[in-house]
Structure formats: C-alpha cells, structure tokens
Amino acid sequence: MVLITRNTGVLIQGITGREGRFHTKLMLEYGTRILAGVTPGKGGLEVHGVPVYDTIHEALKHHPDISASIVFVPARFALDAVLEAISNGLKLIVVITEGIPLHDELLFVYYAKTRGTIIIGPNTPGIMVPGEAKLGIMPAHVFVKGRIGLVSRSGTLTYEVARELGKLGYGVSTVIGLGGDPITGLNFIEAYDLFMKDPDTDAVVLIGEIGGDAEERFAAYYSRLNRKKPVVAYVAGKTAPPGKRMGHAGAIISMGIGDYKSKRNSLERAGIPVADTPSQVPRLLSHVLG
C-alpha cells in the first residue's frame, strides 16, 4: 500500500459543506480513520459523529494522531485551507476541490515541496487502498483488492479501467488520482516511485490524457531505469482538437505541447504498451506480467 493505511489519522477540511458531509459518511463506512473536521466558524458541531473545530491548530491539540487531510472547501478558499494544513505540519493533503485559480495552485504546491508535504490533486478523485482506507470520492466497490498500482489524471475513466481489470481477475493495490488540473502535487514519475517501493504492487497501470508533457517525461525517466516494474498505459484524447479545453483545465493541447501522438510514441519507445481502448488494458497487462 502507498501513502495511507487503515491507521492513518484523517482530518476533513470543509466537513460541514454538502460534499464534505456526504463523503465523510462514505469514507467512515469504508473504514477510514477520520478523527476530526474543520470548518471556520462551525467549531463545536458534529458531523456523523466526527467533532468539528474552527482551526487545524485546535483539531491537532485534541487529535495529535492526525497526519493527513482531505480538502472539500470551495475553490476561492482552497489556498487558505491548504496553506493552513501545510503550515500545521500535515504530511499528506488530498485536494478534491475543482476550479482553483492556477496561481494559487502554483503557490501551495511549491510551498508543500519545501515543507516535505505530499499534495494529491487538486481536482482529484483522491487516493484509496482497497481493504484499508479511502481518502477520496471514488465509488469504493469498483476497486477490488489486488496487486496492480493504478495512477490516473482522470476520475470516471479510472473506474472504467478498474472494472475492466476486475473482469480478468486483476485487483488494485493502491489507486492514486493525480488530478485534472495543469498543476498537480504529484506527477507520474513521483507516483511510480511510490509504487516501485511498494511490496504490494507488481505492476502499474498509467492512465494519461492530452495536455502537458507528464506522460513524455515519465517515459523518458522509465527508459533510464535499470530495475523497474512493468507498466501498461492508456491515454485519452486522441480525437481532441488543439486549443480546446476538454473538460479538465489540464486537458488542452497548447503551444504545440500535449498531443496524443507524442505521448503514445514516447511511452511505446520506453517499452510501455499503450492500449487503444480501456478494455484492452488487462490483456496488455497479462502480456507484461507473463
């Protein structure tokens, strides 16, 4: 398992909002160890039995075991919330919020690096270790416990691939949603390194999409490694026209960077098979796993 276990103490930022409330319930049902929530001005309330505080500082005083947070606060307050979490020394922050200003993301992602904090997202379905814990909004039943690491820039497409994997009997060790924005806390290289060190992961499925050059950079990195775990990829957006934002803020071919062909060629040259459709992923995986 990667980054979280059933013992990870979790804080919910924005716990009293509609989304925060709803997903707190689902995460509790899954077994995630949620210790506290924070919403400024709502200290003293309880949400599904979880105590709510006004500040992280106060939450930590009562629950020193908290090491991770998941952020549901609206986009315009996200910078403040994430900086509060970093400054209070949390080690893992999952930012679900979509639509955060680009320059705010640049600032908190940079600051997190200097403090050794890992950010997942923004605009991510989150992270989940089947059978252990879920810090996210993904439908839990889609992910069966197994030995494949799943790392993705997308949400529902990840569920689709996980389901296809299940049809051939492959389960998931950890699923990490990197997030659909141009700036994210983790990239494919960093996520792969986590899976490389994980004894529960035999192979990695990478789900990319058009925009940016994270897939190309991963391919270059992977081809230089001596010891490696097998990787299979799927990349969405072959039919996407340049200059148009395809839903995700990050899914745009701009300034000549980020088209499908470049990604596919780079990955294949690095020895990573690329599936034409999500349903081909498990077959390619069975080839590389022999």
Partner: protein, 377 residues
C-alpha cells in the same frame, strides 16, 4: 479566456511596455479617419484565433483611402469561422529585427517560464518543434517572482545592444506584473520588434486569463465566452463542458477522461464523434435532459451515445433525463445508452420500459453507435 489584441495592448501599455499608436474601428470611415491622423498604417482584424496573418487578417495601407479599403475588406468577413467586427488601425512601424517573448506557466516544473527566441514572427508551436536551439527557457518559482537577471539573460541570448537592456527589463517586469495582477496564464509578444534606429516595441500582444480566476476580475469576467460557438455558449450557460467536433455521433458522458475515451473509441471502431459533452458529477435529470436537448439541437448528429459510469451520478436520474428530453424534442434519432454503477438496475428498467436498449459494456455500445451512424448516412 483570451483577450483581443487591442485589449491586450491597452493593458500592456499601462505597464510601460511600448506598443504602436493605434485605435479601434468598426467602420471603414472610422479606419480612414484614424489613418489620416497616423499616416501609413496596418489594419488588423480583431478575432480570437491564432495565425490571423496567414489567413489574410492583417493588411498594410499607405494612405487613408487604402486604410478604408482594407477595413471594408476585413469588416464583415470571417477568419477561421470567426466574424470580424472590429479592426485595429495602427501606425506602421519600421523595424530591423523581430523577437519572440512570452511568459507562461510550466506545468512540469510547476513554475513560471519566460520563453525567448530571436526568431520572432514564427509561431511558438513551430519554434518548439523545429528550432529548439533557438529557444531559451528561463524558469522561476512563484515565491521568487521576477528578478532583473532574467532580462539580462534574455538580452544576451537575443544579442541586444547594451543600451536597450534596461528597456527589456521594464518589458519583462511588466509581463510578470500583468501575469500576477490579472491572473493571466500567458502574456506573449510575437513579435517584439527592434525598431529602425533602436528601441523595442511590442507589435503584437496576446494575453489569456486563467478561467478559474475570473471571479477575482469582475471587469474581465463579462468578456468570457466570446470565443465560443453558439452551441458552446449555450452549453456554458447550462454549466456543461462542451466542445464541438465535426463528426455525426453525439456523445454524452460523465467525467472528462471517460468522455475523451468514449470519443476515441468511436474513432477506433470507425466512427466520428460530433462533440465532447461532460455532464460532470452528480447530474440531476434536469441537467441530463438539457444535455440531451443540446446535443439534439446539432443537426449534424445522427446517433446519440451516452456512456455513464455512475459514482456520484445516479443512473436512474440519467434515464429520466433521456426519456424527458425525447418527450420534449421532435427529433427522432437512434439512441445507444451504456450505463453502469449507482442505481443501474433502476435506470435500466426506466429506459427499457420506454423502449431503449441499455448496454453494460462500453465497447459493445460504441460499436453499435458506429454501426447505426453508418446506416443513417
């Protein structure tokens, strides 16, 4: 969101960056009048698409009469599908050299980056591809901001005479301030020119604003959506992510990645998608109904394909949305629905009771849609 050239130039000149004298005209007579003040001019169509010059959107005029002619040629024409409603009439500038200079966000480095090249006038796509050795990248993190060494580095790379280093400093510092003040994600001068007899001037200017930051800029937010087609604008009002393409299979999915993957599968099985439409997470039946009606309003659509993987989105809500949309619309086209996940059985029951076939496997559904689009042709 992209600004018009004339809007971008108004902004950059406020930050002390030199641009040619010029004014906006929406009639040929007005263009003639401006030219009478400025002498020889360049008449430039104001459209929110790139490579305007290649498409004949920039015309030179030596006399006021020629300016009027140029303006009447451009006004009312269309460039890459965009109607020209305004022209920018600018003094003609004599220049010796053209440079490329932009400031943008580098995603991989999670930093800002200045892009500098002595090959001005060439599109950045081509610079990246064909002349990587002629392109300098100066990265800097958000916490340090702009520093003068960046402009010295750029000046040396461009071979700019020392007496103009200070001017480049003012320009690059201004670009950084615009980037931060306006939440821009691109400030580009292509070209930035070296004038006959010396001095720098931005002959073209492009600024794009980060859409997620528009709430901080009410003065700009009203300009959002100008670059959209009528259907795209309608979709934006409804809160959908929608992009028009040129195929004949209408696509509705939940989630951007799944929507792109569905479009790609259509191509893989030999069809062509008519659009990208992501209904987002947790869409109600009303939203789904509006999404279906939107896609149906595109006359090019011959088959409708829905691919839904329910998580927060509930299949029964989607099913009602589809049924209600077709009750309210006169169009009768084949519909292929694939749905899975939350409340799947209920969704399937509703659709089957109304005579729709529901698929479980994406591949099967896409193949069916492609087959139907062929027989409808």
């Amino acid at each position: 969101m992209r600004l018009y050239e004339y809007e971008a130039k108004e902004i950059v000149s406020k930050y002390g960056i030199p641009v040619p004298h010029g004014r906006i005209a929406s009639t040929p007579v007005k263009a003639e009048e401006i030219s009478r003040e400025l002498g020889a001019v360049v008449v430039k169509a104001q459209v929110l698409v790139g490579r305007r010059g290649l498409a004949g959107g920039v015309l030179a005029a030596e006399t006021p009469g020629e300016a009027r002619e140029a303006a009447s040629k451009l006004l009312g024409s269309s460039i890459r599908g965009f109607p020209v409603e305004m022209v920018l009439v600018e003094e003609k500038v004599c220049f010796e050299k053209e440079y490329y200079l932009s400031l943008t966000v580098d995603r991989s480095n999670r930093s800002y980056v200045f892009l500098v090249s002595p090959l001005g006038g060439v599109e950045i796509e081509e610079l990246v591809r064909e002349h990587p050795d002629k392109l300098l990248r100066i990265y800097f993190p958000v916490l340090t901001g702009y520093q003068p060494y960046m402009s010295r580095t750029a000046a040396k790379f461009l071979g700019l005479p020392r007496e103009y280093w200070r001017d480049l400093h003012v320009i690059m510092q201004g670009m950084y301030r615009i980037m931060r003040d306006l939440d821009a994600d691109l400030v580009e001068f292509n070209p930035l020119a070296y004038k006959c007899g010396g001095g720098l001037i931005a002959l073209d200017a492009k600024i794009t604003i980060d859409d997620n930051s528009l709430y901080r800029h009410p003065e700009l937010a009203g300009k959002h959506g100008r670059e959209l087609s009528p259907l795209e604008a309608r979709a934006k009002e409804l809160g959908f992510s929608y992009v028009e393409l040129d195929g004949d299979i209408g696509v509705i999915c939940n989630g951007a990645g799944l929507t792109m993957a569905t479009m790609d599968m259509i191509l893989y099985y030999g069809g062509k998608p008519a659009n990208f439409l992501d209904i987002g997470g947790g869409a109600s039946r009303d939203r789904v109904r509006e999404a279906v009606k939107l896609v149906l309003s595109n006359p090019k659509v011959k088959v409708l394909l829905l691919n839904i993987f329910g998580g927060i989105t509930r299949c029964d809500e989607v099913a009602w949305g589809v049924v209600e949309a077709f009750k309210e619309s006169d169009r009768r086209i084949p519909v292929v629905v694939r749905m899975l996940g939350t409340n799947e059985e209920e969704g399937r029951r509703i659709l089957e009771e109304h005579g729709y076939k529901v698929y479980t496997e994406a591949d099967e559904a896409v193949r069916k849609a492609v087959e139907l689009s062929r027989s409808e042709r």
